[in-house]
Symmetry: C2
Subunit: 371 residues, 2 copies
Amino acid sequence: MTGAAQFKVMTPPPADGSTRARAGRLTLTHGVVETPQFMPVGTNATVKALDPDDLRTVGASIILANTYHLYLRPGHERIARLGGLHRFMAWDRPILTDSGGFQVFSMEGLRDLDDDGVTFRSHLDGSLRRLTPESSMAIQAALGSDVAMVLDECPPLPAVWDKIEAAVSRTTLWAERCRTAYRGPGVPFAIVQGGTDRSLRERSARELVALDFPGYAIGGVSVGEPPESIAEVARFTAALLPAGRPRYLMGVGRPEDLVEAVASGVDLFDCVMPTRNARNGTLFTSEGRINIKREEYRADPRPLDPACGCEACLRYSRAYLRHLFVANEILGARLNTIHNLTFYLGLMSAMREAIGRGAFAAFRESFLAPR
Amino acid sequence: MTGAAQFKVMTPPPADGSTRARAGRLTLTHGVVETPQFMPVGTNATVKALDPDDLRTVGASIILANTYHLYLRPGHERIARLGGLHRFMAWDRPILTDSGGFQVFSMEGLRDLDDDGVTFRSHLDGSLRRLTPESSMAIQAALGSDVAMVLDECPPLPAVWDKIEAAVSRTTLWAERCRTAYRGPGVPFAIVQGGTDRSLRERSARELVALDFPGYAIGGVSVGEPPESIAEVARFTAALLPAGRPRYLMGVGRPEDLVEAVASGVDLFDCVMPTRNARNGTLFTSEGRINIKREEYRADPRPLDPACGCEACLRYSRAYLRHLFVANEILGARLNTIHNLTFYLGLMSAMREAIGRGAFAAFRESFLAPR
């Protein structure tokens, strides 16, 4: 571990136990991240449809990039020779990279797993590739990410207990190897596994906390289990993690999931939902979700969300956004993405503000109330 | 004709006859257009991949929108109810619309032409539609364009003399009807036809000039004739048009075509080339064309064009632009489009500047010299 990270809890959870939400400040190599925070997903060294100016405008302070994709194309060594991922994509704020393992474990029939690592075929050209704890950390160090995630074993759910137990053991082993191997400009975060089994989650957290990582993620959620399990697993796993370290719930989720997880003491999130939904025409507004391709918007002169100040809402009508979507125009993907990320990052900002003035329990109640 | 347009030649062609290039200022309802000028094509009420801020950044002062496409989807009446095309797409500078005829005449087997108008099937839903001189002008008036092009008959080349002659006659008839019918916020421009036949071009120009239009276009070029004909037709047709009115060469073309046509006294251009090529990865640079998808750029740290100051060139490497193209990322289409339009609009600006200081003949010679 060669990089620096400092996490400071600015507003701890209230003593009355009404919520475990806290506000913090995570200082990374490329800048400061106020938590709770959402990380837009930039799979291929670009948050789809946006440029770095757009990202700053929507309020992004940290983004996630996918090691699996960048390792295969254009290659981490090429990116390193071009000055690292930040320079490659012209983004000067923090970047968190995943380990690459999640994509590999999502490829049914494409992998060969052993205690040393995982062998898989590239989805691009079918070439045989291998990822080990050491190579994953080397790739992430070459990319130059601020936060490098350890390689973990993340079995899709439902899975038998033995399989989840084996994944927990291997995840601890690999986390230790990752921690030893990492020589990057950032810091490594460990990932708690254990499926929906409380005792396995406890064991995984205990073993990883003993390794003293700069941050901890809750992995293995939103991988096939029922939606109600997500909040429950996040809640009891977050409580197992040290108060002085950032907690990151991977791959979650809907706005209501974020609010529930913040209430459980989670600090960081990533999810493709706002960006992918944007490209599919599903837009988050202060009055609920809108599917912009619907006939009812074809002559609608109103802004998408009158309560939103993004470019899409300030300048255009729902009729224009629908027209762009129906005509398959690139500008539609960009405006919709700007809007959805403005909504997500605005929600995070509203939660931080509510926590800061001791009003998060009320915020949560109001946000989750049926409309 | 209810709108206002004023064209002033600021720098007339030099008396020595070395070039017929001139610089002018065209004042339209929504603003001033310095000529010679290039109009980016915004077919579906968006210049593909760009927003209005991007258009201003690349230096666009007027864009073209396609009546055929907007008439079919979302419909001119809907756009009118939403406040007109400028408001619909949030572009407050001038817009020129074509008549819709060019797309209809390009659809082989889809049309039924008579002296009153043309019947065709929508490429979107197969519905039967009809365009007449009056309806084309009504559509363009509803859109609120600054310049409305008359409905003309534009036969694809090669065509027999009789067919081109008939198109010239009908184009004059229709131009008169368009001029009488137009009740818009802008001004109508006539379109000279006549194929590559000089006497037909002369007749077409003479008949249309007698109708005293605020501007004249050279139509029926780049429709199947050999490339060397484009410059020749533009040259002798431009000379037939009144010096005090703007001359617009429709659908042309390559950078070298623009330079040649400016030398012939043309003031306005439109073409999909910079925007379409951008999306296909063909980029114009000060050192010639680059196909960004080529293997040779995969590790190239240099900017696309060191002589260019656009966002794509200032911030990114050729390797990154290639990566975006190969990964089919939306940002690639936008950056490439920003670059190509910066190149085109920069070329127009350089020509205006050269004309202003009496150096256009030298500019042309230098630009067209083999490298």
